[in-house]
Symmetry: C2
Subunit: 195 residues, 2 copies
C-alpha cells in the first residue's frame, strides 16, 4: 500500500534535521532560509512542509536533536570525573572554536535561542537539562540533582568562553581566552568537589 517503506520518509526527515543543525550553527538561524536548508539535504523548498509544520517547528526539532546528540557524545567519554575534564578540554579547544558547524549548539546559537518563540526555548531547556544532569551524575554521583545548578553555571561559562573566542579578531588573544577558560573551569570544578 505505502509506496516506499516507512523508513524512507523518516530517513529524509532525519537528513533535513542533521544538515539544518549544521547550517544553523554555522550561519545562524535567521540567516538560514528554507530553500538553502532543503538544498543542503538534496531537496527543493516545496518538500519542506511535508516534513515540518513551519520553520519554527524545524528549529525546535533541530535544537532538541542537537542536544540529544551532544548527550550521546558526552556519554561516550571516559567514565567519572576524568571524562568531564576531557570534555572541558575538547570543548574549549581551537578545533571546536574554528568549526562551529560541528560543535555545540549552545555556543553557536545561545543568544539567538534567547530571542526565539517559547516552543524553541522549551525544547532547548528540556534538551539542555538532560545533558546537564548526565554531567552532574558524574560530578556528584550521590546526588546529581544538587549538582544541576552548579553544572549549568559552569556550562554557561564554557559557552560564553567559546563565543568570545569566536568573536575576537585578534587570534592570539582569542587563543589565550580558551586556555584561561580551561584553567578557570577546572578550578571551579575542583572547588565544587571540595564543597
Amino acid at each position: 500500500m505505502a509506496r516506499y517503506g516507512n523508513e524512507h520518509k523518516q530517513a529524509t526527515r532525519r537528513r533535513i534535521i542533521e544538515t539544518s543543525g549544521r547550517r544553523f550553527k554555522r550561519d545562524g538561524i535567521d540567516s538560514s532560509g528554507i530553500a538553502t536548508l532543503m538544498a543542503d539535504a538534496g531537496l527543493t523548498n516545496g518538500a519542506f512542509y511535508a516534513h515540518f509544520a513551519s520553520k519554527d517547528d524545524l528549529v525546535a526539532t533541530t535544537v532538541a536533536d542537537q542536544l540529544r546528540e551532544q548527550r550521546e557524545q558526552f556519554s561516550a567519554l571516559a567514565p567519572g570525573r576524568a571524562g568531564v575534564e576531557q570534555y572541558v578540554r575538547e570543548y574549549l579547544s581551537i578545533q571546536h572554536r574554528d568549526h562551529p558547524g560541528e560543535g555545540c549548539p549552545s555556543a553557536a546559537l545561545l543568544d539567538e535561542i534567547g530571542r526565539c518563540a517559547g516552543a524553541v526555548k522549551q525544547a532547548y531547556t528540556d534538551g539542555l537539562l538532560a545533558v546537564i544532569d548526565d554531567i552532574g551524575a558524574r560530578l556528584a554521583p550521590d546526588n546529581p540533582q544538587s549538582a544541576r545548578v552548579q553544572t549549568l553555571s559552569v556550562f554557561a561559562m564554557m559557552t560564553g568562553t567559546l563565543q568570545l573566542s569566536r568573536a575576537l579578531a585578534d587570534r592570539q588573544v582569542a587563543d589565550a581566552v580558551l586556555a584561561q577558560g580551561i584553567q578557570n573551569v577546572l578550578a571551579l570544578l575542583d572547588a565544587g568537589q571540595r564543597t
Copy 2:
C-alpha cells in the same frame, strides 16, 4: 552657508546609533531592518545612506559605541575591587537579564558578532579590550596588562551566564543560574587575587 548648524546632522547620527543599539540588542542584528532602525530614530529609510555607508558600517559603529558607553558606565562605579563586585552583581541581575535592550552588547549579540564581517569583529575587539583593560586596572593596579586575559575570561563567563539565563524557559532554573554565576565569578576573582 550651511543650512543647519554642524551639530544638527551629528545629533541625528547620534540618535540613529543609540536607537539602533537598543534595537539590535533586543531583536538581534539580522532581524533589524533599515526601515525599522530609521523609524526608531524618527526618520524614514531613505535618509540612512546620508549617515552610513552600509548596514555593516552602522553595525560596526553601533558595536563600538555600545562598548564605549559600557566603559563609561563602568568607570562611574565605586573605586577599586568593590566597584568590580558591584558590577558583577548588577551584570548578573534579573533586571539586566530581562532588559537586553538596555544591557550589555556582548551578552545580547556575542554569537551574532562572531559571524559578522571582519570590520565588525575588529570594532568589537577594540572596544571590548578597552573595557577589559579598565576593569583589569582595578583588579591588578600594578600590572593591568597581566590581568587582561583573566579578566576577559571572567567576562566571557558572565556573558555566557546571562545568555543562558535568557534562553531557559524555566524561570526558577534561570534565576538560580544567575545566583550561582555570581558565586562562581566572585570565587574566580578571589582566586585571581590570591595568585
